[in-house]
């Protein structure tokens, strides 16, 4: 019941009925994730997405001193969306829990199952996935273009990576 109330409070599924959200929880029960758990790694194969109910995750690229934090993803947001409906696709970034979290894991099978029942969840999730991806692509392209333009203008690539980090930190 507590999880259902949490779901009902998320703008992502605003407009979806309580029975439809309850049906979602029957096929995709909540999963607890410990802090520092590596939820996804770049190169992993997987076509499911994760809906964050509580907690938070860091999305990162690169290793060690070249790590680029792309985003902090919190309650009501989606992770792993680039692989949805693309069976065999590799994850393109690393996702790490930065605090104890609770998530729902959904794949195409779950969404198809719910859609066949006339459930409103798949439409809401698909629309959220599209808008999330569009925003992330836009932000990344803008960041790369901005940093490259500055580096090209000054003939000085040094500091470009640092500027990129600052842009994603905003």
């Amino acid at each position: 019941m507590q999880v259902l109330q949490r779901l009902l409070s998320l703008p992502l599924v605003a407009g979806v009925s309580e029975p439809d959200l309850d049906a979602l929880l029957q096929v995709a029960p909540p999963v607890a994730v410990d802090a520092e758990t590596l939820l996804m790694n770049a190169g992993d194969v997987g076509d499911d997405i994760v809906l964050v109910l509580d907690g938070g995750f860091a999305v990162e690229l690169g290793e060690g001193s070249a790590t680029l934090p792309l985003a902090f993803v919190g309650p009501g947001e989606i992770l792993g969306e680039a692989a949805l409906f693309r069976r065999g696709a590799a994850r393109s970034a690393r996702v790490r829990a930065v605090q104890p979290s609770v998530v729902l894991r959904l794949d195409a099978g779950v969404l198809d199952h719910l859609a066949r029942q006339g459930n409103g969840v798949p439409r809401a999730i698909e629309e959220a996935v599209m808008r999330t991806m569009a925003r992330r692509i836009h932000d990344s392209v803008q960041a790369i273009d901005g940093v490259l333009a500055s580096a090209l203008d000054t003939e000085e690539p040094k500091g470009a990576l640092q500027r990129l980090r600052e842009l994603f930190r905003r």
């Binding site: 680029l68 693309r86 569009a134 836009h138 940093v147 333009a149 090209l152 990129l164």
Partner: protein
Amino acid sequence: MIPTDIIRILARSPHFGGIATDVLHGISMHAVLQPMAPGELIAPRLQPSEAVWLIGDGRVEVRRLQGYQGKRLEVPVSILRPGMLFGHMELLSEQPRTATWVAASPGTLLRFDRKQFERLVADPRQAGSAFRRALILSLGSQLQAVNHRLGEFVRDTDQEVASRREVLRRALEGVASDGQD
């Protein structure tokens, strides 16, 4: 408008391939055919987005504004080919266009105007679901490519800047450049 031509274009696209003809028919009702001529401006950068296009045949050049040694110019960064979608990222993120699209050859586009696009995206029926999934497939590939590019940039910032500088230098010298974004 000839729906069968529109359905044929949709069916040829990798994003819509495999979708039943009656569902494609539902999608086709929201699109119109738009012929294009070489050099024709399809949509300029920084303008609000008002449509999404699917390339039926022909090629579309993507140009981005870039700077080099204090100069600013629009540089071709990629070529879009038949079956590819464009414009959807800007409409979904509600951001102005960051690129200019110009016809690189004669051809035909399918155009979904903003209102029709939003109607399809929100449609709970099969046509809406198929359309959303096609967009998700297209955006997923784009996001993966952008993340890959970011990864390359992080691994070797100097190399990325040097390679882009060479593209810009050649563009400024009037040498045709067709680098991939």
